[in-house]
């Protein structure tokens, strides 16, 4: 894992990605007890994200030069199945920009805040995302006012009310 994070930091230093942050299951386990997840989801803001079409090609080419090749939707880096997800909405861009810096042994990395993680799961809305939200609400320390602020900013308040109605049943 640490070796994979070092590669991510390298990509950022080289300007291949503007900024990255860990999301998904690995971000969830950062805030809770360890849970099972197969891959490492990485949200990336790409340098071309200013109005042009988003392309992962330069990122995949840079990884290829380092000897890491794609396998289906993943790139295997030092044994980790890494999935790169370009920041696909304003919420995810905000999550990456606001991600907190954390240490993994000797390596600095970034993890999306738990409040953003919940908002992204709500926006995505698959059954497994709803399970994740319920789990995070029970297990993690969530700053509710900040969560409500994010939900309001990205038009997710109605969805949140519906989720809470179902969750509290």
């Amino acid at each position: 894992m640490e070796a994979a994070l070092k590669v991510l930091n390298e990509l950022e230093r080289e300007g291949v990605v503007e900024r990255y942050a860990i999301g998904g299951g690995v971000a969830t386990l950062f805030y809770t007890e360890p849970i099972f997840t197969e891959d490492l989801d990485i949200f990336v803001i790409l340098p071309a994200d200013t109005g042009q079409l988003v392309s992962l090609t330069p990122l995949y080419e840079a990884l290829n030069q380092k000897g890491y090749r794609p396998q289906k939707e993943f790139v295997v880096i030092a044994g980790e199945y890494v999935q790169f997800l370009p920041a696909y909405s304003d919420l995810v861009v905000d999550a990456v920009k606001d991600a907190k810096e954390v240490r993994y042994q000797d390596t600095l990395t970034r993890v999306v805040s738990v409040e953003h993680l919940i908002a992204i799961a709500l926006e995505t809305g698959r059954p497994k995302d709803n399970v994740r939200i319920a789990y995070l609400l029970e297990e993690a320390e969530v700053n509710r006012p900040f969560l409500l602020f994010i939900l309001g900013r990205y038009g997710l308040r109605d969805k949140w009310e519906k989720f809470l109605y179902r969750y509290e049943q």
Binding site: M1, E2, V26, L29, F30, Y31, T32, E33, P34, I35, F36, T37, E38, V102, R103, Y104, Q105, E139, A140
Partner: protein
Amino acid sequence: MKLDSKRERRRKLAALPFHRKFEILRKLRKRASGYKRKAR
């Protein structure tokens, strides 16, 4: 195990450093791959 002690155990696990949690995840993955092999 009583509910309180389960909760306490979860709280302790949640407080582990990131890399320690990842070591546990690695064990979970190893176990899951064993189940997959058995299932085949």
